[in-house]
């Protein structure tokens, strides 16, 4: 057990050291332009960032949904041998329900990019 502790100690200390050393010892010369966003050197055209169109959130949300579904497959795969054949039925039901959600999203046109 102690090796794990040692590994965490070394990497932790080294990590924080490298991050902080720059802040402590690094030269600090800030000027007003340094904090403005980098727009290829030309003055930026909008002072506020406008909201991103809704379809991006939709894609992110759907990805999250089906990614979590895949995450549950990993522990199932480990114990798959012990449970035997009923494990297949449990997982098939689980995937079927999510497939319904997938078809619903498809029919609703969530994956349609160009309107």
């Amino acid at each position: 057990m102690s090796e794990i502790f040692l590994v965490f100690l070394v990497t932790g200390v080294l990590g924080t050291l490298l991050v902080l050393i720059n802040k402590i010892l690094g030269p600090k010369k800030s000027n007003p332009t340094k904090n403005t966003p980098f727009e290829c050197g030309s003055p930026f055209l909008q002072d506020r960032i406008t909201p991103v169109p809704i379809k991006y959130y939709l894609v992110a949300f759907l990805f999250l949904l089906f990614d979590v579904e895949v995450v549950f497959l990993f522990p199932w795969a480990l114990v798959f041998k012990k449970i035997g054949s009923p494990a297949l039925i449990y997982m098939a039901a689980y995937i079927l329900i999510l497939a319904l959600g997938f078809i619903y999203a498809w029919k609703k046109g969530a994956f349609l990019w160009e309107k």
Binding site: L25, P27, T33, K34, T36, F38, G41, S42
Partner: protein
């Protein structure tokens, strides 16, 4: 041509003593061989920059290969080509947005002194806008001259005064 004679910007006696000079030496060695350069290319010298950056002359051998296009990650601003009056504020903004420590190489006669364009439209040398470390003459400079300039800059970085805060009277 032998070791380059130390110049004015060398550090005199180091107030931090032996340790500081050693750290300073290692810091200089680390910085000089990992220069991330921001290619600020506008005109004809860009063609010689391409030759110097590509397979035949390849200044990646000197550790300058990493081309970053954001001033946040850049150490060295490689100003290549003519800087017109309209481009001057762009250059100033990009220079200000670079993080310390930063260096500037003015490549080509137009960046050094306005070159053959002495008229209403061209800034007569970028040191009128931003401080410059190494000037490369030539219109366009041959790739070997660019490599030589990189060596000069690396020598300057190696022997630079201590700029990290330890025992520096504020």
């Amino acid at each position: 041509m032998g070791k380059i004679k130390p110049r004015a910007y060398y550090q005199e006696t180091q107030n931090g003593g032996f340790i500081a000079t050693k750290i300073n030496y290692m810091l200089g060695w680390g910085r000089k061989y990992s220069l991330f350069h921001y290619p600020f290319i506008t005109a004809c010298c860009g063609m010689e920059y391409m030759s110097a950056a590509c397979a035949h002359w390849d200044f990646d051998r000197f550790g300058v290969g990493m081309t970053t296009f954001s001033p946040r990650q850049a150490d060295m601003l490689f100003v290549v080509g003519t800087i017109s009056q309209k481009e001057a504020p762009v250059l100033k903004t990009v220079y200000d947005q670079m993080c310390e420590p930063k260096w500037v190489i003015a490549c080509g006669a137009c960046a050094v002194s306005g070159g053959i364009y002495d008229n209403y439209a061209v800034v007569q040398g970028i040191d009128k806008i931003i401080p410059v470390d190494v000037y490369i003459p030539g219109c366009p400079p041959r790739p070997e001259t660019i490599l030589n300039a990189i060596e000069k800059l690396q020598d300057k970085i190696q022997h630079q005064k201590q700029d990290w805060q330890w025992k520096i009277k504020k």
